[in-house]
Symmetry: C2
Subunit: 179 residues, 2 copies
DNA sequence: CTTGGAAAGTCAACAAGGCTGACATAAGAT
DNA sequence: ATCTTATGTCAGCCTTGTTGACTTTCCAAG
């Protein structure tokens, strides 16, 4: 694999390319592949705890996502949720209908624009949200604590750089303290 | 929500708890929640590019995962793949059958134990793997480059701490230079 | 050599959660 | 009055996961 002096793997930018003294060893194909696999395995852990709880309640990840973002942005409209979740309205509607029927979510008709439905968690919905996010936060907190503040800052930087621009807009939007 | 001096949210370990001079601000519920949302949005980006390519070929993420880990561990058995992927044999078999029928994967009967099937990518399979991992690596590399080596190290640390122990074993196993 | 059990494959049936397309309704906007 | 938007809904399809039952192959222990 090392043809011309250790540089020049098969595809494009894989070479180390000792540029201006900086080693850039973290950009080798091997490092990146390990990052890809770490994402895969970590995401499994990330969803494992909520998945167990959801299963007990007869829900799935789709319900979790809806509950999470309704909790984060109480009164959000269906359309807004649609663009955050990136699914079709039919898909979201199926989930939302179940949550409303089960009394976890309330869909209030808009005052200004009566076509809109503003979504809120009921007390029962908020209780499930607590349970789910407690479980997910606990693992996250353990990981954060184990890795330390510097690692956490890096973690967040890489994740944000990995998002599609549109998703980053949503992500930044959620961080607004306006609400 | 702010009862006793701005600290003391609802659930457990959320308080800042200024322990021995270290600020631990990175362990607040708010920081953790942002990490959770960052994971969610970033994972979407992480899978977006391969998903597009897979779609053109009439495959899904399940096929990608199989192809990836067969590429990583040529000659791996079905059982080993099963434990890495964490799905049922019926689910994996469906995917594997399609890949074998399409000539992307070869399943050789074991020499020592003839019950086992050892899985290999064919030339066509390796070509698709290239295409998929090139796309995924490109985004990863861009994120790594934007964030820098220190951030990348932190990223990896947090991800590894987030895995289930069994998944971490698989992850570490893949990094072995033995084989 | 026989038999128990492991590895693998297969068939059937089902569910969640994506998708598309078509259509209905209400209401804001022009 | 008409166009457009927001939402809901019905029908049908696909992928990918599940469980359960059964078969074949074949190593290994008795």
């Amino acid at each position: 694999m090392k043809s011309d002096g250790g540089v020049g793997m098969s595809q494009g930018a894989s070479a180390v390319a000792q540029k201006s003294g900086e080693s850039l060893l973290f950009l080798t194909d091997d490092q990146i592949r390990k990052g890809i696999e770490a994402m895969f395995f970590a995401y499994r852990g990330f969803t494992a705890d909520p998945d167990r709880i959801l299963d007990e309640h007869g829900y799935g990840r789709a319900h979790h996502r809806a509950i999470h973002f309704i909790h984060r942005s109480p009164g959000t409209t269906v359309n807004n949720l649609l663009s955050i979740l990136g699914v079709t309205k039919q898909s979201l509607n199926r989930v939302l209908r179940a949550l409303v029927e089960d009394g976890l979510v309330e869909a209030r008709i808009g005052h200004r624009d009566k076509r809109e439905r503003h979504l809120y968690l009921t007390e029962a919905g908020a209780a499930l949200e607590q349970k789910l996010s407690d479980a997910q936060r606990e693992r996250m907190r353990a990981a954060y604590r184990a890795a330390g503040p510097v690692a956490v800052a890096g973690f967040r930087q890489v994740l944000e750089a990995m998002m599609d621009p549109e998703m980053r807009r949503h992500f930044d939007g959620l961080s607004d303290s306006s609400r």
